[in-house]
Amino acid sequence: MYQIPRAEWYDLTRATNWTPSYVSEEELFPEEMSGARGIPMAVWETYDEPYKVTYPEYVEIQRQKDAGAYSVKAALERDAYVDRADPGWISTMMAHYGAIAVNEYAASVAEARMARFSKAPGNRNMAVFGTLDENRHGQIQLFFPHANVKRNRQWDWAHKAMHTNEWAAIAARAFFDDIMLCRDAIAVSIMLTFSFETGFTNMQFLGLAADASEAGDHTFASLISSVQTDEARHAQQGGPSLKILIANGHKEEAQKMVDISIWRAWKLFSVLTGPIMDYYTPLEHRSQSFKEFMVEWIITQFERQLVDLGLDAPWYWEDLTKDLDTTHHGMHLGVWYWRPTVWWNPAAGASPEDRQWLEEKYPGWNKTWGRCWDVITDNLNNDREDLTLPETLPYICNMSQLPIVGTPGDGWDVKDYTLEHNGRLYHFGSKADRWCFEQDPVRHQEHQSLIDRFLSGQIQPADLPGALAYMGLGPGEMGQDAHNYAWAAAFKKQAKVA
């Protein structure tokens, strides 16, 4: 590190706004890309990033981090953990890499949006490091799964998934493209870094790292916790933007951006992280339930951060808190039932012991979700696997692009929230999903869900095999039950003993 303390010269590195005269300020920072919202350049210069880092510090720290993560991988390579890991854990990794790796790389584009177009010089510099960070996250999370492509064709999806029209890939892109690739610089700082990265990456990278350590997967644990150290730094770019927006009369819009991003992130996590944490991760390695993680990282910690900044908890906070008990169970049931349509092998997570744990963590689970799994279990144990496999496609939400789910059992409550807009009928999985659409109908109106494409004849032949082909799933890629129904057979044994 250089001799003179950083504090003495750091401000000069961000004294970089000037008044253009060969082109206009509006040309240099088009509103569409910059999103200054009429707040003058001089005000944006007061943006003060809480986490400060300089170039020489960055390359040194990051070189060391990489040395750590790559050496753990190299040291454990011969150990071939993957070959003896529980199939549920393998599915966790496959789902994670396919949904995350290439989107991390795409996040570098969003960071570059801020690095070029933010009117706040501190934001522009930090976003250069953010661009580099996301380049790292894309690369390292491709390099690690690539070592496994020789094992099984599903590992190919770590790279391939985002290039396909597989439904979960569409849902992931629909979220990330909306909040990070199709937004101006200031909106990116709020919707991606503040809203998504502050709360949700903790869930995915720290929560999952805890499970990974428990499962003995030290390579994955060290990888994703190392990724999170970068997220924790560059997630802090949104806070100063929010302060400036709030102080300059844009609180309402700031709140709206936060609310949209949190809701959409929650829905994606309910299908990705929820099943991973509560069903795929082998029971003995689950550190906390998905709900417990959500309550800790989102409901409690994130809400505190919102309040600290002078924002409110999103208007749907009560709905979300309630949904923590239900949504991801429905998503999981859907993913498992439609297992040929995903690139990983969903673990049912419905053995007798699993169900005991679920009932403990989610009282009432047996009376609701458990009933569906009873039917599935019976069918499997009566050699009627065919009845546990799909023939059609589920109804899909026009916002989250995920199946519309409800809670089964006596209180069966699935509800389609509809909206007619410009003569087209849209379907939503919740009030909040519909609300997200209503905030900016132009942005969403033309988009077609997988079902819309199916009904309009874009998917041919118009049946399940046609849909699988459309989604890019071939034999050997389509998901199957991770444990080949051993969990169901356990009930048969139980019955015999009794």
Partner: protein
């Protein structure tokens, strides 16, 4: 269904999209290739409604660029730079620079220069933080707009390098001000950048480059026109002027940055060679060069006119820039 259709897909040795190439993919290829899924559908880049405005920006300035290629994704960085190796490389380079700064601070470099030179530095060196920052912003634009991840990545690391140069300038400005208090170091740079005749050519070129939205034209303006001119006039000639004025530190620091600049030039050459595999592109690129080169010459002339110790500075700088263009196969 025939047997071949129901056969389980066999595992491959690498990603399916790389498995057709004969060469075993390098680590660079495994982690860098075909990552921009938003180039897959040329009519609608993003998974939002078609009416979302960002689609138009990418269709207009990326997908519909006059520069065409069958498959930009086949481009490969000749340096095979990835994140991991970039940090190894630059941590080493920064250790070298830290050593330079320490040594010259011990030797009293700043006490040995004249007040007149300190004033020249205030006017001709300290304002580089604006120029380098403009390059940083330009690279960040190229990153988000390039039609292949392997092209974007060139700009990713280049943006980092430009922030590196800016950081050197900020640090040296602060250090110089400790010895040469009261001459405006750390205060007057913006005024010089906005008003001093020496800077106006570079500022005009930088501002106009920054609003060049077509990704390919922007690449040419930054990497073929502006950056070589900066290297020629500001890094090279100003460094020589430093040596003339007992400021060895400046010339060594600038030389250290030129190693980054030369790497950028090798990457640009490879990108242009790749683009020229479509012969339709040659006149397009040359027309952009012809359009922008006069602004670069003007910038070089204005800046070098201020380097009064070096009467040949402008001519040498223009020759350097011309040699870089020639190395790219351009006039």
């Amino acid at each position: 269904m025939s047997d071949s259709q129901t056969d389980t897909l066999k595992p491959l040795k690498t990603w399916s999209h790389l498995s057709k190439q004969r060469k075993r993919p390098s680590e660079y290829e495994v982690v860098s290739t075909n990552l921009h899924f938003h180039t897959n559908n040329p009519d609608k880049p993003f998974e939002v409604g078609r009416d979302a405005k960002m689609n138009d920006w990418y269709i207009k300035y990326r997908n519909n660029s006059p520069l065409k290629h069958q498959g930009w994704d086949a481009f490969r960085d000749p340096e095979q730079l990835i994140y991991r190796t970039y940090n190894i490389l630059q941590e080493g380079q920064e250790a070298y620079v830290t050593g330079l700064l320490d040594q010259f601070s011990e030797r009293g470099n700043d006490q040995m220069i004249s007040k007149q030179w300190a004033q020249e530095l205030n006017r001709l060196y300290a304002p580089t933080r604006y120029l380098y920052h403009a390059l940083q912003m330009g690279a960040s634009y190229l990153h988000q707009m390039s039609p292949a991840s392997t092209i974007s990545n060139l700009a990713t690391y280049q943006a980092g390098d430009h922030l590196r140069w800016l950081t050197h300038t900020a640090y040296r400005t602060c250090e110089l001000a400790k010895t040469w208090d009261g001459i405006g170091l750390g205060e007057n740079e913006r005024n010089h950048w906005e008003n001093d005749a020496a800077w106006q050519g570079f500022r005009e070129l930088a501002e106009k480059a920054l609003i060049t939205w077509d990704w390919a034209e922007a690449t040419i303006v930054f990497d073929v026109i502006l950056k070589p001119a900066v290297s020629a006039a500001v890094q090279k000639q100003l460094g020589l002027a430093g040596a003339e004025n007992a400021d060895t530190l400046l010339s060594l620091l600038n030389d250290a940055q030129l190693r980054d600049a030369e790497r950028h030039q090798r990457q640009t050459k490879a990108l242009i060679d790749f683009a020229l595999t479509n012969t339709d592109n040659a006149p397009i690129i040359q027309a952009w060069v012809d359009k922008w080169q006069p602004l670069a010459d003007k910038a070089i002339n204005a800046y070098c006119a201020a380097l009064t110790d070096l009467p040949d500075a402008a001519e040498e700088a223009r020759a350097y820039a011309a040699a870089v263009r020639q190395s790219f196969g351009l006039k």
